[in-house]
């Protein structure tokens, strides 16, 4: 099945989901059960754990409010902070705090608590509480600070005696690190009570276990692997796919040591058949990527070549007399990553390069998968660069404010790619399968869930 058909199918599914309220009215109550692959070891939003061990942003936002949220277009919207102001230098920001908001333990969300939470999340900032507002001073102009504060890790948390409580729509009822999280809806949530009474989240489940849980009616929402989406649809499951958001790329462990090494990296990038990977191995579960940010987000990604060019790859390879054997590592527990690395090794062999696949932590090249950090392009680029150890993209504040963002983002992204530390491969779609009684499903373009809007249909009216 072609990706276009898959997209159509997903759109139809989404329409059906959106149309569902037309058939039945939302109602409160019920226990929503999720099974996910991630196994977070902490609920604290400020804890930065490796991929798979940190709390998914969609779940973190159920517990912890952020000062700001981003809408589907990446625009900052008020959340815990109803308004904010910035000085002309874009370094000093003042965020007012919404009144009448309380943490799950009943204490009010004060400016002091917010300031303490933000200081814990980013020690580099100078954060002061002033009346019913907080002042954030950055060490450099940060025009996108509201978008940054919309990241889940800046969720406002109150930390007392090793316990972390938030002010989100759900409070923690039970927490078994890495295994299970039970949330209870707050009746007094400032944004309105969630429809379901509670959410049970089983963690650390493989895709197979999740599918079985869904089939056995032990879960209402499960994740679907990108390469299994089409199969799940063909099996008649209720599958909802996101736009291509998850970034998959090859990341070199060090900078280009020589021009010859740069040639070899170029040869590797040109030898990779991204289309075959996407169409065959991913079953159309993504799209070839030549950039960090997906095309739907920037509009310019198509300008970066993704097609295989073996002739040029061999030319680049032949420009170097002797090529080293690179080790290519991937997460051994990720079958998709394994098959992708094997394919890359085969493609590289066609260009005269030898890659030795491994699951070791130490390797010349590593296959990475990263979710889209933010719907704000600059924030997303900064997050990518920070995670990969690349230089942070430089803001030209004046240019940023005067012209369309796309050109500056293009320039920033080009600069990152020219470092040859990264070879983008694919943007993958995230997908979930829902049981028939799950209604009101909403998802941002970056794949974030809005579980507080989900309600469960208990039976036919």
């Amino acid at each position: 099945m072609r990706p276009s058909a898959l997209l159509l199918l997903a759109a139809v599914s989404l329409c059906l989901a959106v149309a569902a309220p037309a058939r039945t009215r939302p109602h409160y109550g019920g226990n929503l059960r999720l099974a996910i692959g991630e196994a977070p070891i902490s609920v604290d939003p400020a804890d930065v754990s490796p991929a798979g061990k940190s709390m998914p942003p969609s779940l973190s936002r159920l517990i912890f409010d952020t000062l700001v949220t981003l809408d589907a277009r990446g625009q900052a919207q008020p959340a815990l902070s109803p308004s904010w102001q910035v000085d002309p230098g874009n370094q000093r920001w003042l965020f007012s705090i919404r009144r009448g908001v309380a943490f799950h333990d009943g204490t009010g969300v004060s400016s002091d608590a917010v300031a303490a939470s933000l200081r814990a999340a980013n020690p580099n900032w100078k954060v002061f509480a002033t009346g019913e507002a907080v002042i954030v001073e950055c060490d450099a102009p940060t025009p996108d600070l509201p978008a940054v504060l919309a990241l889940a890790r800046y969720g406002i948390a109150k930390r007392t005696g090793g316990k972390v409580v938030g002010s989100g729509p759900f409070a923690i009822n039970r927490w078994d690190a890495g295994k299970k999280l039970v949330l209870t809806a707050r009746d007094d949530y400032w944004g309105g009570r969630a429809f379901v009474d509670s959410i049970e989240i089983e963690m650390g489940k493989s895709f197979r276990e999740q599918t079985i849980a869904l089939d056995l009616a032990k879960a209402d929402i499960v994740q679907i692997a990108p390469d299994q989406t089409r199969h799940a649809v063909l099996e008649g499951r209720r599958v909802l796919s996101s736009a291509p958001t998850e970034w998959m790329a090859l990341v070199f462990s060090r900078d280009v040591p020589s021009a010859q090494d740069g040639k070899l990296r170029e040869a590797l990038g040109l030898s990779i058949d991204r289309d075959a990977m996407n169409n065959v191995l991913l079953q159309g579960g993504g799209e070839p990527a030549g950039t960090f940010l997906p095309n739907w987000m920037t509009g310019y990604a198509f300008l970066f070549p993704t097609a295989v060019d073996l002739q040029r790859a061999r030319q680049a390879r032949n420009a170097v007399q002797q090529a080293p054997v690179w080790t290519l590592a991937c997460d051994g527990s990720d079958p998709l990553a394994r098959v992708i690395t094997e394919r890359i090794a085969l493609n590289a062999r066609d260009a005269g390069l030898t890659l030795q696949t491994t699951t070791s932590a130490v390797a010349d090249i590593r296959l990475v998968r990263m979710p889209l950090p933010s719907l704000d392009a600059w924030v997303a680029l900064g997050e990518f660069a920070g995670s990969l150890g690349l230089p942070q993209p430089k803001f030209d504040v004046d240019r940023l404010q005067q012209s369309a963002n796309a050109s500056t983002e293009y320039a920033a992204e080009s600069a990152l790619l020219q470092s040859q530390r990264v070879i983008p491969l694919l943007h993958l779609r995230t997908a979930v399968a829902l049981s028939a009684n799950v209604m009101g499903w909403q998802e941002d373009p970056d794949g974030s869930w809005h579980l507080q809007n989900v309600w469960l249909e208990t039976g036919k009216p």
Partner: protein, 595 residues
């Protein structure tokens, strides 16, 4: 080495050789039996391996056949015949079908060799299958090398063709030849099977499937099979303990195109054989030890029986040699040893008789010599006596004046000759009355110095030419037990003889020295010397080279030295003087006995 020891050695050696020969024969026979058993077991195991190989091959072929007949394969073949190259539709099919049919390897390959779907290497779709057997056609299972992302593996594979339309596709499925496969073989105790996957040039330890120990030791055997592609056997020493040795038989396993893909290694431990061999050796050692002990006892008994008469004869011979000619050997048997004993007894009896006869003869000769000497000695003074008396008688008869005139002279002559006769008689008497030595602690040097002192006056007498007396006495001379009077007498006698031998003057040397536990006294002159014949007869009683000697002086000296347990010898050459050498033992035991 005594006869008894030789006999004992021969007995022990015989027993040892017999036991050794028996144990060697038993060991050889045992080793051959074990080798035959090992060969039989190896053959049986190889046959079992082939049966298992065949059985699993049939199983694989059946499963591949099932997959080839499946709807998926049909659909794939239809799509390929229509020219579709959408690998995405099949990429996961091979894996699913392989899991379903419990195959480790499964690939769908089109007629051009392009992989449509691969279970073992899903990412390899669209690539050419490197090892598609030439003229792939349905048949039994065969050995095949499977390329994998992380290397290669050996598989028992089967291939089937799905032909729908003009372009067939091929289904290649197989199961890995690995530890699990080797574990399915029922191995007799002490045997093990290993499989070497010949996926690289030379030997590589990771390619060995199965228990191996120090796999590097298998390298020469593997390389030998790789080189010659023939079965080979090697004895491997895994440790210093021979019981850990293992006989390993290597059988080449070829693929369809006769390429060497694997080597079956059948190991057969030699522990049972070595243990049995050790037991045999232990038993042989025990039997040998017991046999040798028994041999010692038996040979001791037997040799005592055999050698006792011989030893008695030897002891008797020693007694005879020591002068005890009365020795007799008991005659206990009538065999050769008995005859020998009788002969020995006859011999000693004959010797005794001969000695008696010799003694008688010597006694007669001695008496004759004595009579001759007496006659000679007495005749000399008697003749002047007779002449003097006849002169006196004649003178008395002729004239009394003449008688008176010659009477004093004649009477003086008579008295002188009578005195001479007395002297002769006293010397004989003295010789017959030699006293036994009275032992006391004596410094020989002092005795020698006393002799020199007493002789000093005579040496310087103007009656004869001057003789120089030279004393060369050892300072560290040990004292001995001796009779100083007798020694003095003996040394004086020799010194006087030496002086007599130097009428023209010369040098008298008196020397002493220590030789081991003996004291040596040398008395030498620079006189005319003696002939060899004179030297031989020198100590014979009554022999003398002097005009007026009795021939008893040196005999007395020899008697004194002999009574002291010593020896006397003479060394002389004509014209070079004579030296008497006297060796005296310390005789301290006699001193203790006397004291």
């Amino acid at each position: 080495m005594s006869f008894r020891r030789k006999l004992l050695l021969v007995f022990a050696l015989t027993v040892f050789l017999c036991v050794g020969a028996v144990s060697w024969i038993v060991s050889t026979v045992t080793r051959r039996a074990f080798e035959r058993a090992s060969e039989d077991q190896t053959t049986a195991l190889i046959a079992q391996f082939r049966r298992e190989f065949s059985r699993r091959g049939e199983e694989v072929a059946h499963r591949v056949e099932t997959i080839a007949g499946s709807e998926t394969a049909t659909r794939m073949a239809l799509a390929v015949s229509r020219g579709s190259t959408d690998y995405s539709a099949y990429v996961n099919e091979a894996k699913a079908l392989a899991d379903n049919q419990q195959l480790d390897f499964l690939e769908f390959v089109d007629s051009s060799g392009t992989i449509l779907s691969s279970a073992q290497w899903p990412a390899k779709f669209g690539y050419k299958e490197g090892s598609l057997p030439a003229g792939a056609s349905p048949g039994g299972a065969f050995l095949r090398q499977e390329d994998l992302p992380d290397g290669a593996a050996l598989s028992l594979s089967a291939i089937r063709q799905v032909e729908i339309g003009e372009k067939p596709i091929y289904v290649i499925g197989g199961r890995r030849l690995d530890q699990e496969f080797m574990a399915s073989l029922e191995l007799p105790a002490g045997m093990r099977a290993m499989l070497y996957r010949n996926l690289a040039k030379g030997f590589s330890a990771p390619l060995l499937v199965g228990p191996s120990g120090n796999a590097q030791q298998l390298a020469p055997l593997i390389e030998q099979v790789q080189q010659h592609q023939q079965e080979a056997t090697a004895l491997l020493h895994w440790s210093g303990d021979a019981a850990d040795d293992e006989s390993v038989h290597a059988i080449p396993l070829n693929g369809l195109d006769n390429q060497l893909l694997g080597i079956l290694l059948v190991g057969n431990t030699r522990r049972p054989y070595v243990e049995l061999r050790n037991r045999i050796r232990s038993a042989a050692m025990l039997a040998g030890s017991v046999g040798i002990v028994l041999a010692i006892l038996f040979s001791g008994w037997a040799s005592s029986r055999v050698t006792r008469p011989v030893e008695q004869l030897a002891e008797a011979a020693r007694e005879v040699a020591a002068g005890n000619w009365n020795t007799r050997v008991p005659v206990d048997s009538s065999d050769e040893l008995g005859a020998l004993a009788e002969s020995f007894n006859r011999m000693t009896e004959e010797l005794l008789q001969q000695r008696e006869r010799l003694v008688q003869a010597e006694r007669v000769a001695a008496w004759r010599e004595l009579a001759r000497r007496l006659a000679h000695e007495l005749k000399n003074p008697l003749f002047p006596l007779q002449l003097t008396v006849e002169n006196l008688v004649r003178a008395r008869q002729q004239s009394p004046e003449q008688f008176d005139e010659i009477f004093p002279e004649s009477s003086a002559t008579l008295l002188a000759e009578i005195a001479n006769l007395k002297t002769i008689i006293s010397r004989f008497s003295e010789f017959s009355r030699m006293p036994q030595p009275q032992f006391q602690r004596v410094q020989v040097n002092e005795v020698v110095q006393n002799v020199a002192r007493l002789l000093q006056a005579q040496l310087q007498s103007p009656k004869h030419s001057p003789i120089e007396c030279r004393l060369e006495l050892a300072e560290d001379l040990a004292s001995i037990a001796a009779d100083p009077e007798l020694l003095h007498r003996a040394f004086s006698n020799l010194a006087l003889n030496a002086m007599d031998a130097m009428p023209q003057g010369g040098t008298l040397s008196l020397r002493t020295r220590q030789s081991s536990d003996r004291v040596v006294v040398e008395i030498a002159d620079t006189g005319a010397g003696l002939t060899a014949e004179e030297c031989e007869r020198l100590f014979t009683p009554y022999y003398t080279s002097k005009a007026h000697g009795t021939g008893l002086g040196l005999a007395i000296v020899q008697s004194i030295i002999s009574d002291h347990g010593g020896r006397i010898g003479v060394h002389s050459e004509p014209g070079r003087g004579t030296a008497f050498m006297i060796e005296l033992p310390d005789n301290l035991d006699k001193l203790a006995a006397a004291g």
